[in-house]
């Protein structure tokens, strides 16, 4: 699997990662690679730790005081939990889209401009306009909202809100985008649009998507990791996982025997 990929496309590597919430161990000895050219999907039953693991990749678990991470997670070869790694810079490079669309209660324009502004990516109004348009275009939302950029982001439909959140993440020009069940609050049509978007963004950004929908994992990803009870049961080519799983547990899960 990972040894077939060239080192240059490897974006993030995780080795022997354990995660604890207080005394409770949520992730047990997980090793995984995230590459630029592949979309990586995390699947598994609820409570298996897939979202927890995803959130350690940009250190969002830091906001939970009882969470503790051991092991080695690297972005471009740099340990993201090293003392000299600044978490603010890390999150600018590793963006995140959440389960429930969470646009800020600001205008559509300001939702996108928020990140570039705090990171100083634009020097003037016209440059900011450009970034906003480019981000919205990449997120496939431009045509729908170009005439009402001043409207509140919360006034959009759920699917549009989620694409706004993706556009917002893209606007700060990240290298990795983490998506935590991005379609679980959306209807099938909005879901299809998000999946299409993931296809289009592939190659430009390294992407990791957590999903409880196995068809979705099969449709959007090239690498799949199956988590169960905090351990990584199987990780490999998506087509292998779904057609020819090596582990009995994986087979049971994808055929719907449990979970």
């Amino acid at each position: 699997m990972s040894n077939t990929e060239s080192a240059s496309t490897l974006k993030m590597t995780a080795r022997n990662v354990d995660i604890f919430y207080g005394e409770k161990q949520a992730i047990n000895n997980v090793s995984i690679d995230v590459s630029m050219e592949h979309v990586t999907a995390f699947i598994g039953p609820s409570g298996c730790g897939k979202s927890t693991f995803l959130r350690t990749l940009n250190r969002m678990n830091d906001t939970i005081s009882s969470a503790r991470v051991t092991g080695d997670i690297r972005l471009d070869g740099h340990d993201i939990y090293a003392p000299d790694m600044d978490v603010v810079q890390l999150r600018a490079r590793v963006g995140m889209v959440f389960q429930k669309p969470n646009p800020f209660p600001k205008s559509i324009y300001e939702n996108i401009a928020y990140g570039p502004r705090i990171h100083g990516l634009a020097t003037g109004k016209s440059e900011m306009d450009e970034i906003v348009e480019k981000s919205l275009r990449r997120a496939g939302l431009w045509d729908e909202v170009k005439d009402r950029l001043a409207d509140s982001g919360t006034a959009l439909s759920g699917g549009q809100q989620q694409r706004l959140c993706i556009a917002r993440a893209i606007a700060v020009d990240p290298e990795v985008i983490l998506m935590d069940e991005p379609c679980s609050a959306l209807d099938p049509i909005a879901t299809a649009k998000i999946e299409e978007l993931i296809h289009e963004l592939r190659g430009r950004y390294a992407m990791v998507i957590v999903t409880h929908n196995m068809q979705q994992a099969a449709r959007v990803s090239q690498r799949t990791a199956f988590f169960h009870l905090g351990t990584l049961v199987e990780y490999g080519e998506t087509s292998d996982i779904f057609t020819n799983p090596r582990e009995e547990k994986t087979k049971d899960y994808i055929t719907g025997r449990y979970g």
Binding site: T63, R91, G115, V172
Partner: protein, 460 residues
């Protein structure tokens, strides 16, 4: 006599409760499959008997309290020969009052000759009528109790009746505060209308000269311009106090919600909220004795004219400190109500915690914060003790914070204390001021609650 009757009635009621419950539980125990399933619990039957024994008897007691004195008076008077009966209403009342005082041992002898001779008659009549009332109350309790007891049957709907009464009592309880408020507003309105009959509303609301102490009830004009009072109230409560309370309250809320470790928060927040319970008179001492003199000395030393030891600044600063916990707790609630997803969304884009607070949390919580500030203002302008003690009485129209100004509440206290006549504009002005204060704080509260409610809906 009546007291014994009341105890007896209560005893009978309790007896009725026990008996009613006992009888009801007997038939629910011995029930056969074919028998009617009892509609109510034994306790409901007991309570029903209790109420039948208690309420009619208490009504008898209450009406006897109103009737017995009049009956006794009649009896006493009619024991006098017609020729000796006092002619005027007032003489009669004085005589009866004296008789009553002697009979109850509060007074040894009277000024009116006849009083001494009437005491025996008074005692006889008093004993007689009170005895009748007491006996009647006990009798009614027994009859009521027996009637209630006779109703105890499996199919009797005691629960419905008891609960209906309970509900009525609860409803009355909820009405008391509202009715009292309506009464207060009514009396304020009534007295204010009397005031405005003497002083024109236009002068009161827009006049700039306030010196009610100078005016006699005849020459009212020109002394009741309340603008200096309104200004003083706004200057202290809405400007100086808020300059202190808003930044400090907001900063403390930000610290408590965003930065404080749970352990720190768990003792800091209760302490802060405890400050809201300090009596305002204590803040008043502090303002008048500790804060005001150094402020005056400072103002004098930098050459500010009109500096007074009772200054707007001293009162406003201390009031601001008093309001900090209030603003802080409202802002704390609003910030904590912003969904965690907003915060995560901002942090996940590489925003620092302080950028997240400034650009996402505060704007999102702003309606709640504004609502909290409005409530704080309405509290500050209604606050009395601090300004009475520290702000002074001179109705100056000045923007100099070191000068003495006066407020609506201070003037109400001034106008209503000491010897007052309730038909002079001087006293009635207090009601007009109270009405204005009531209307303004009411409006502020309504606006604030609407703002807060609208904001809550946005995230539900």
């Amino acid at each position: 006599m009546i007291q014994i009757a009341i105890f007896l009635v209560i005893g009978l009621s309790i007896l009725g409760f026990v008996a009613g419950r006992g009888r009801a539980s007997a038939f629910s125990k011995g029930r056969t499959a074919a028998a009617v399933r009892p509609h109510s619990r034994p306790n409901h039957h007991g309570a029903h008997v209790l109420l039948w024994a208690l309420i009619p008897a208490l009504l008898v007691v209450a009406s006897s309290m109103a009737l017995v004195p009049a009956l006794v008076n009649d009896a006493v008077l009619s024991s006098l020969p017609v020729a000796q009966q006092p002619q005027s209403q007032m003489d009669r009342a004085a005589l009866l009052e004296e008789v009553r005082a002697i009979a109850s041992g509060q007074s040894m002898g009277g000024f009116i000759e006849a009083s001494q001779s009437l005491v025996p008659a008074y005692k006889v009549a008093n004993t007689k009528f009170n005895g009748i009332a007491a006996a009647l109350a006990v009798l009614v309790a027994v009859i009521g109790g027996l009637f209630g007891f006779s109703k105890v049957r499996p199919d009797f709907r005691a629960r419905t009746r008891v609960e209906r009464l309970t509900m009525t009592v609860l409803f009355m309880a909820s009405l008391i505060a509202i009715l009292t408020t309506i009464g207060i507003v009514g009396s304020l309105l009534f007295e204010s209308i009397r005031f405005f009959g003497m002083v024109s509303p236009v002068e009161f609301l827009f006049g700039t000269h306030w010196s009610p102490q100078m005016s006699s009830s005849g020459a009212a004009a020109g002394s009741y311009g309340a603008i200096p009072l309104f200004w003083g109230t706004v200057f202290i409560g809405a400007i100086i106090a808020m300059i202190v309370a808003i930044p400090f309250g907001l900063m403390s809320a930000i610290y408590l919600t965003q930065y404080a470790a749970p352990k720190v928060r768990s003792w800091l927040k209760p302490i802060l909220e405890l400050l809201a319970g300090v009596p305002t008179v204590v803040y008043g001492y502090f303002a008048a004795l500790t804060i005001a003199p150094p402020l005056r000395d400072f103002a004098v030393s930098i050459g500010i004219t009109g500096a007074s030891s009772e200054s707007a600044l001293a009162a406003g600063l201390v009031m601001g400190v008093m309001i900090i916990p209030f603003v802080s707790s409202m802002a704390d609630d609003s910030i904590a109500a912003v969904p965690q997803a907003m915060r995560d969304g901002s942090l996940a884009m590489g925003a620092t915690p302080s950028e997240t607070i400034k650009r996402v949390l505060i704007p999102a919580a702003l309606p709640g914060i504004v609502g909290g500030v409005l409530l704080a203002v309405s509290r500050a302008i209604g606050e009395t003790m601090i300004v009475v003690m520290a702000a002074g009485l001179a109705a100056n129209l000045t923007a100099n914070p070191f000068a003495s100004v006066t407020t609506v509440t201070t003037q109400i206290v001034q106008l209503m204390t000491g010897d007052t006549e309730f038909d002079s504009p001087k006293t009635l002005a207090a009601f007009a001021l109270g009405l204005v204060l009531f209307l303004v704080t009411l409006a502020l509260n309504i606006i604030a609650l609407r703002v807060v409610k609208k904001y809550r809906e946005a995230y539900d």
